[in-house]
Subunit: 308 residues, 2 copies
């Protein structure tokens, strides 16, 4: 049974509407007068983080990527539960420092979880559950985009990808490299933006696996085509200063993942309450249409990072 | 940093009252007019299950042990999220069968989670988050037992331990061995009992690590001494038919763990709404007092199974 078979089998089991077909960033379940939003994301050494990564950064990222799923639902985080496999060495200690930094920074309490000590050491595997609340009744999904709606991102794309390249190859410490490394190691989930946008968007998700791959997921879930113009994707000055601004570097930014910006669609009349850059358009049809400066270009083989 | 240092460090971080000092079965957080109860328990190959265990049983147990934590809070389960490391072989397939059986049996929906594929294989590690609701305001903890209160268990103790012995050594299939193996492999969390008892008890928890160890935890959390009489511990006919009924076999039952019965204390005037057997008494003082048929006996070196 391969990865996709396995997930298909899980989907057959997860028939409850709150599971959203396992095709959304989080589960959403009515709870009293509110909605409860829950997510559980894992990180694996060698897949989601480098083996020589700073454990404090890994801890931060574990919290941040889960909170990013809550941001995509416009949820206010209420707490996290940690699932931790102990190493029994200094790694644990440094991890804990990063965990405390993240907990404090995002003001989200650690409420429980479990720690275990595996007998045989394999790839380090970490899990975190984050949950939050939505007061209103509207919780965005990936499935509401309509032809004619605009496609936006909440900030620079590609800094996470750029940081990963720098982390892999080693680099001189400059202001620009430090900022890109930080974008990769210490992502900032768009919690405030998510809450401000959640009742205004037609679809929303966080960009973890690459803008193009994630846009194609909204297209699929919404039964629309999504046209993305690479030339419109916002790049940071730091990204451009090191990786340039041509079609190739823009394609790297759009497929690299680890952005944790929000990707959203909204009617063109909607006035968005937070800064966002229009990168494309929803059209009738299916799948992704790639443009560069208004001209149709070939789609890349990989739209993003498939790492499950 | 050893295990206990690590958990102490976690406790320093988990200062929110809903975390209950990480010294309870689950986190309890007010949510609208209700209370939300959350738990995340992990299971590791070679620690929590045998390497040759049936993966369907492992899946069942992963769900059951988490639901047992909800039972201890009197919570109604609302859903689970799975954190799964894929093997990429038949193990996954059989696991999925057991997962579906458990989900269906306990009527608790699978709502999400994550699957990953570790690069290097170590001990199989699985995680599950379960959450539920309590409608009233009273959620039992381990900390409310008072001197003079009686100590009860909701059913037979030792069947889980007995099943593990049979699983380890292999055995002829008889009605008795089948029942004991099932008690170990397919535990039944006391969800209905937990909900019926939750507003009447002074303290409650589920017995996962051994009756004596778990009783000592209630004693510590409540600042009382707890006296347990081994002779009063209910054993199943199947347990007695294979492992006998003497002090030694009762000590095995009381320290073996994997019972998933509820352990509770209540005022002697309280009429319990579900069957429960009185096994001891809370007294002023601290720690555990062991009796066998009314006579004080020596405490065992290990009160239970410390496996984190």
């Amino acid at each position: 049974m391969n990865e996709l078979d396995f997930i298909d089998r899980l989907k057959e089991i997860a028939t409850h509407p709150a599971a959203r077909g396992l095709a959304d960033d989080a589960a959403v379940i009515p709870f009293g007068r509110q909605k409860l939003v829950l997510t559980h994301d894992m990180m694996v050494e060698g897949v989601h983080f480098l083996s020589d990564a700073n454990p404090a950064d890994v801890a931060w990222k574990l919290v941040a990527v889960n909170l990013s799923d809550l941001a995509a639902k416009g949820a206010k985080p209420l707490g996290v539960l940690l699932g931790y496999s102990r190493s029994g060495n200094e790694w644990d200690e440094v991890f804990m420092l990063g965990l405390k930094q993240a907990i404090d920074h995002f003001c989200v309490p650690l409420l429980g979880g479990d720690t275990v000590s595996p007998k045989e050491e394999g790839s380090r595997t970490l899990g975190l559950t984050a949950f939050g609340e939505v007061k209103g009744h509207i919780v965005p999904s990936r499935g509401g985009a309509m032809a004619g709606h605009s496609v936006y991102v909440t900030g620079a794309i590609g800094d996470g990808w750029a940081g990963l390249q720098l982390a892999k190859r080693g680099t001189n410490a400059t202001e620009a490299t430090a900022k890109l490394l930080k974008a990769y190691n210490r992502p900032q989930p768009r919690l405030d933006e998510g809450r401000a946008l959640s009742t205004l968007v037609s679809a929303m998700m966080d960009i973890s696996d690459g803008l193009l791959l994630d846009a194609s997921r909204i297209a699929d879930a919404s039964n629309v085509a999504i046209e993305i113009d690479l030339a419109k994707i916002p790049l940071s000055p730091e990204f451009m200063s090191i990786f340039g601004d041509d079609q190739n570097s823009r394609m790297n930014a759009a497929t690299g993942g680890d952005d944790y910006q929000l990707l959203l669609t909204a009617s063109p009349e909607t006035v968005l309450p937070v800064p966002a850059v229009k990168v494309g358009l929803c059209k009738s049809g299916t799948g992704l249409i790639m443009l560069y400066d208004g001209q149709i270009i070939k789609q890349p083989m990989n739209l993003g990072f498939i790492h499950a």
